[in-house]
């Protein structure tokens, strides 16, 4: 079967909206209701954050959502329980984003196998280095047809962007500026970087993440690439909202 991420980009090349939410947030059992609402109201892709005690690349908003989720009792085992059978209801591609330690402790092969079993299409592990992936884990991801998605940043050299693009499956995650999540750095200075990404003629679709928070920043990102990822702004809305469905509807309505 073709990976759902590849299916998506085969039919839609522009304005792809990927929304990040933290598993088990705001309440432990909100994972599926949030995902259902995201699909219902027009998210093209869902990036599900696996909470970790020490999320080095995240700013305070996503850190706090992870801390809350852990307090709620979220864990990788719990998440796979929640995801058991979710493909009966949710058809958009789903990616797990998490730090490498919980995956290493779970067992990389057991984790990837479980992803394939429940119907997770891709994985982002920001602190799994390219060299270790190539040397130890690539065959596992390939065997189970689970896409590992790599990140690039404005500081990444052209040569390395090409290397990461050739390894990445599904899409390439372009971090908009050198920062932790939710930092709100000014994206207008990033034009040269976005143009550079365009000119490299990469094999993968490209989604821009970090600093995408509203219609204006989403539209800017979409001018240069296939779409964008929104995390912090959505987590904020989810934390403030009362009704999940209404919060998601209003949030996506303000972007699209």
């Amino acid at each position: 079967m073709q990976n759902r991420i590849d299916q998506l980009f085969a039919t839609k090349q522009n304005g792809v909206l990927n929304i990040y939410c933290t598993a088990g947030y705001p309440q432990l059992n909100d994972t599926l209701p949030v995902m259902t609402a995201l699909q219902q109201h027009g998210a093209d892709l869902i990036e599900l954050g696996v909470p970790f005690s020490d999320p080095l690349a995240d700013g305070p908003v996503i850190q706090d959502s992870g801390t809350q989720a852990l307090k709620n009792g979220m864990s990788l085992h719990k998440l796979f329980e929640q995801l058991d059978g979710f493909r009966e209801r949710i058809h958009v591609p789903v990616i797990l984003m998490g730090y490498f330690n919980p995956v290493l402790v779970y067992g990389v092969e057991a984790f990837v196998k479980k992803c394939a079993e429940v119907g997770v299409d891709g994985v982002i592990l920001p602190d799994l280095p390219k060299a270790e992936y190539e040397a130890e884990y690539k065959p596992i991801f390939e065997q189970y047809n689970v896409s590992l998605i790599f990140l690039v940043t404005p500081e990444t050299s052209d040569e390395r962007i090409r290397q990461l693009d050739s390894l990445s499956k599904g899409f390439l995650y372009a971090v908009s500026s050198s920062s932790t999540t939710g930092k709100d750095k000014d994206m207008s200075h990033q034009q040269a970087y976005f143009e550079r990404l365009q000119q490299l003629k990469l094999k993968n679709p490209v989604l821009i993440g970090f600093g995408i928070k509203d219609k204006a920043t989403f539209d800017t990102a979409c001018r240069y690439t296939n779409g964008a990822i929104i995390g912090t702004a959505f987590i904020k809305a989810l934390g403030e909202g009362r009704d999940i469905d209404a919060t998601v509807r209003n949030f996506i309505g303000s972007i699209k």
């Binding site: 005690s53 602190d127 280095p129 940043t153 500081e155 990444t156």
Partner: protein
């Protein structure tokens, strides 16, 4: 000076991929790749450069006050029935071994053209040592410190501020060294071009464990020369050091790693007892995983969440150990013991009474195990007295009145 010595033949030193056995590596997000890659490519070239070594040596001599004495502790030796020498890192400028590393790294940062320095600190000794070298070189300095440590190491916070550093409280998680390190790494992600991160311990992504160990290796380089003068042999029977992340132990062990006759003893913080739920004894409580971008032993839950350690000593209150030490533990090259809070306090009072030296709470953990090691009367024992106890006076006074 031997900081750039070729270690490629050693079983215990880092390999060309940045690993010690199965521990080490650089598990950094892509945002940090250029910085870490630059350090990996440049650090040995800089450390080997004769002008770097001259500058480093001159500052260690004239500014830090090296070589630090190797003191024969007569009354301590009588009590424990061995020949006990104290390597007096407590007499360094700023009061601990930490300054050896910060001098080296600031010289490196200058050569890499960096303008701004960040650091994490637990007990505040590394923060003070970083603030000091930044003042010396006229560079901006931001130090991250856990809120709890800011409170329990107040004198060091004042010292950092007086030296011109900005001290930022880390309020996440356990609000101690682990969280301060997270915040420093996040700062580095946000400032990737002009900033150098002076990591204070032999942990973190490659090349930090090796770089910090090399800069601290002056400790064992001096011990060898000093022992030769005092005993006729460069080799002691034991080298004993406390270990949190493991920088003073790495420095004290460095030039003895391949001398298998020398017994290496690392003492972790047992806290209120290894199985009390309030401990930082990583080798006993930890298993393999990734902390601060290194694959090593760390304390964590079944789900891979890093747990919050506990120790009376802010400098040892860390849920991991450096990858070199994880390898020394796994290969059996070093013996790992733990000392509880109470044992460390008793050892600190004892050193005051017997030798007139107030040790840092961290170093007191190493002293606390003298009672448990099976010495022969002729055994030569070197204890790395990594720091002085001025910063811990509040803690000492509070327990003295109990």
């Amino acid at each position: 000076m031997d900081i750039a010595i070729d270690t490629s033949k050693s079983r215990y030193q880092v390999d060309k991929n940045g690993y010690y056995g199965r521990f080490g590596g650089a598990y950094v997000p892509e945002m940090l790749f250029p910085n870490v890659d630059e350090l990996q490519r440049r650090y040995m070239e800089v450390l080997s450069d004769p002008t770097f070594q001259q500058e480093f040596e001159a500052l260690l001599r004239d500014y830090v006050g090296r070589p630090s004495p190797l003191y024969f502790a007569k009354r301590l030796s009588e009590k424990y029935k061995a020949k006990i020498f104290l390597k007096r890192e407590d007499l360094n400028h700023t009061g601990a071994h930490k300054v050896n590393n910060t001098i080296g790294q600031i010289l490196l940062a200058k050569r890499l053209g960096k303008k701004r320095i960040i650091a994490e600190t637990g007990a505040g000794q590394h923060g003070v040592a970083t603030a000091t070298v930044c003042a010396l070189m006229g560079m901006e300095c931001v130090v991250y410190m856990g809120s709890i440590d800011i409170e329990r190491q107040a004198p060091n916070v004042s010292r950092m501020k007086m030296l011109g550093a900005t001290v930022v409280a880390a309020t996440s998680g356990s609000q101690t060294l682990k969280d301060a390190t997270n915040e420093a790494i996040r700062d580095w992600i946000n400032n990737p071009v002009d900033t150098h991160y002076i990591l204070g311990t032999a942990a973190g992504p490659h090349p930090y464990p090796d770089m910090v160990a090399r800069l601290q290796s002056v400790i064992s380089e001096e011990i060898r020369k000093q022992l030769l003068e005092k005993t006729g042999s460069e080799l002691p029977d034991y080298v004993v050091a406390c270990i949190g992340g493991g920088s003073n132990a790495a420095g004290a062990f460095f030039h003895y790693l391949d001398e298998e006759a020398v017994k290496l003893v690392a003492v972790e913080a047992g806290g209120k007892g290894v199985h009390s739920g309030h401990s930082a004894a990583t080798t006993q409580l930890g298993k393999i995983g990734i902390i601060h971008a290194a694959k090593t032993l760390l304390m964590q839950t079944e789900d891979g969440q890093i747990t919050e350690p506990y120790s009376i000593s802010a400098g040892l209150d860390y849920p991991g150990i450096g990858p070199l030490h994880a390898h020394l533990y796994e290969t059996g090259r070093a013996r790992f013991l733990d000392a509880t809070d109470d044992e460390a306090l008793a050892a600190a009072y004892e050193l005051c009474k017997l030798e007139g030296i107030i040790p840092a709470m961290e170093s007191a953990h190493a002293l606390a195990k003298l009672k448990d090691l099976p010495f022969n009367p002729d055994d030569v024992v070197v204890v790395c007295l990594s720091g002085r106890g001025d910063k811990d006076l509040n803690t000492y006074i509070r327990h003295m009145n109990k």
